[in-house]
């Protein structure tokens, strides 16, 4: 019993560990819910791009003293629309356009941050600092993450239909353009919520891995979402506690555990790759 106490309870006797666990659970849930839509819509690269592209928005927010969320939202939307516009008006393919836009914006953000005096360390923006979360950070994260999670859970059927069959969504009168825009805004908000804890580089793993694990393990959408959230919560708790004992960086450890869970899902998932002959045999 003693060893179990040391393992699980002792870390939580520290204030900073309590906050770390709470914040990683909050972003674990919001990221895993979002990851279902990201994986199904095929927007993983888009998520990667936007998480990088918000950096100049954050830098500008420091300069002008506006809320980080607003700066990040504007940068995310610029990235998305610039990508769409350049794709439509040039012969370059979408992935190349996206690559140039997001890495260009990311680099611009780096340049800006090296020139600006801020109270936030660049490394913390990039990789997060879950153990250094303040009470204000925690409240801010909790508010943004809760709003996003609630919206996505309530509107999950519309968003799922938008991912699955946007034409049908349009035919039955759903506002498809609004759903697409909404998903983009939710993505930017989720990244901002996860910023302090996971950082903009690692957040992308938390935005993809749980959904991929759910995708491999479930046959229905609600099942996929539940598995994604569970996988994410388990890795957040395990990652936070283990990082305390082995004195390792918390957010990267969470991501490593998620990657390991993904490999397990890949090996034992219910849904093996479907072959054409299998479909014919059952038909």
């Amino acid at each position: 019993m003693d060893s179990l106490y040391t393992l699980l309870v002792e870390p939580l006797t520290y204030d900073f560990m309590q906050r770390a666990l709470l914040v990683s659970l909050l972003i674990g849930v919001v990221c895993s819910v979002f990851s279902c839509f990201l994986v199904l819509k095929g927007w993983s690269l888009m998520g990667d791009a936007i998480s990088h592209a918000i950096l100049p928005g954050l830098a500008a927010a420091f300069v002008f003293g506006i809320p980080l969320l607003l700066g990040a939202l504007i940068a995310a939307l610029i990235c998305a629309f610039l990508t769409g516009f350049l794709k439509d008006h040039s012969r370059v393919k979408e992935d190349a356009v996206m690559g140039i836009v997001f890495s260009g914006m990311f680099a611009l953000g780096l340049v800006m941050l090296t020139k600006i005096e801020t109270d936030v360390h660049l490394l913390h923006i990039l990789f997060g600092n879950v153990l250094g979360i303040s009470r204000t950070d925690l409240v801010q994260t909790a508010v943004i993450a809760s709003i996003c999670t609630i919206i996505m859970v309530i509107k999950r059927r519309d968003l799922m239909l938008f991912c699955f069959d946007p034409v049908h969504a349009g035919v039955i009168g759903l506002p498809v353009a609004l759903l697409s825009f909404g998903l983009l805004v939710l993505l930017a908000m989720t990244i901002v919520a996860a910023l302090k804890a996971a950082g903009i580089i690692l957040v992308i793993a938390m935005l993809i891995a749980p959904g991929a694990i759910g995708f491999l393990s479930a046959r229905s959408f609600d099942g996929m979402m539940m598995i994604a959230v569970m996988a994410s919560v388990v890795s957040c708790i395990a990652g936070t506690i283990i990082s305390f004992h082995i004195d390792a960086a918390t957010a990267p450890l969470i991501v490593v555990i998620q990657a390991a869970l993904f490999m397990i899902a890949l090996a034992f998932g219910k849904r093996i790759k479907q072959h054409d002959d299998q479909a014919i045999a059952t038909g």
């Binding site: 519309d158 239909l161 039955i172 009168g173 759903l174 479909a279």
Partner: protein, 294 residues
């Protein structure tokens, strides 16, 4: 037997923002109780006409009226259902057969899309109607080609409108499945629906369509298949885009019979016309002759 007018397209022109004119001066009135084929080459405006009926593109001129409403308003009333091409659907998507059919009911549900008793009944009836009730808990990737198509037809039925748009319904299904789907479409049309089928599979048009629209930017010909689907109209619509094989009397017979055989095809089932030059008729090939040569 033509039913009531459901879609009335008046002087419809669509020009995209890049200046491309996709449709020019289209006038058609479509009725319930018919299966209508929409035939034309790629880029002839088939999909633009579909999008106009679904209210996705704004007419630059003219109008599309569905039961007297403009398209966008008709959508809110769940009048129009769309059955996508098999290739457009992600079959690995984690949804069950009954989930897909339930999507047809979303337009009838409230803000959170919580299914009522009536929604569940509609889904069960639709699945029963297409003979897929036994498969309701399958993941959609676990179905055969014909079953996949039936699930999406069931979704259209659950939605409850009387207009069903089908995009290339027979790609990737074998002839036996095609025949059973055609029988299903006939039943659905006879119950008072309009089934509009976009296809470039010329040979199958005489087999299942009552009416046909030949389109090339504008309507080249529209009417019953027997009188409209002629070599002359097809030549007008397709220009030089079709493979055209004509086997004349000498190749076919040893006698003086002057009749010849014309095979028109783009890439799928060929259209076969037989008779004297200029007076050739559509031959509905018997089942034995319908082996697909791929």
């Amino acid at each position: 037997m033509t039913g009531q007018d459901v879609i009335k397209i008046t002087d419809l022109s669509v020009t995209y923002s890049n200046g491309h004119c996709a449709l020019d001066g289209v006038n058609i009135t479509l009725h319930t109780g018919t299966i209508c084929g929409l035939v034309g080459v790629n880029g002839a405006g088939k999909s633009t006409l579909f999008k106009s009926i679904m209210g996705f593109v704004k007419p630059s001129q003219g109008s599309v009226k569905i039961h007297g409403d403009i398209a966008q308003k008709a959508l809110k009333k769940n009048r129009v259902a769309y059955v996508p091409q098999t290739e457009e659907v992600d079959w690995n998507f984690p949804v069950l057969v009954k989930d897909v059919v339930m999507m047809g009911r979303y337009g009838h549900m409230g803000f959170m899309r919580i299914a009522s008793k009536a929604d569940h009944v509609a889904v069960e009836n639709a699945l029963e109607r297409v003979g897929m009730r036994a498969y309701e808990n399958r993941q959609i990737g676990e179905l055969s080609g014909g079953q996949k198509k039936r699930v999406f037809v069931a979704r259209a039925l659950a939605q409850g409108g009387d207009i069903i748009l089908l995009d290339e319904p027979f790609t990737g299904v074998d002839i036996k499945t095609e025949d059973s789907l055609i029988a299903l479409f006939h039943d659905l049309a006879n119950e008072g629906r309009l089934i509009l089928v976009s296809t470039h599979n010329l040979g199958s048009v005489p087999h299942f369509c009552d009416e046909v629209i030949l389109i090339n930017k504008t309507v080249q010909a529209y009417g019953p298949v027997e009188t409209t689907f002629t070599q002359e109209n097809l030549a007008k619509t397709f220009g030089g885009m079709l493979r055209h094989h004509r086997l004349i009397g000498d190749d076919l017979h040893d006698d003086e019979d002057p009749r010849g055989l014309t095979v028109l095809t783009d890439d799928e089932r060929p259209l076969v016309l037989y008779g004297e030059e200029g007076g050739e008729q559509i031959r509905k090939l018997n089942k034995k002759g319908r082996k697909r040569t791929t």
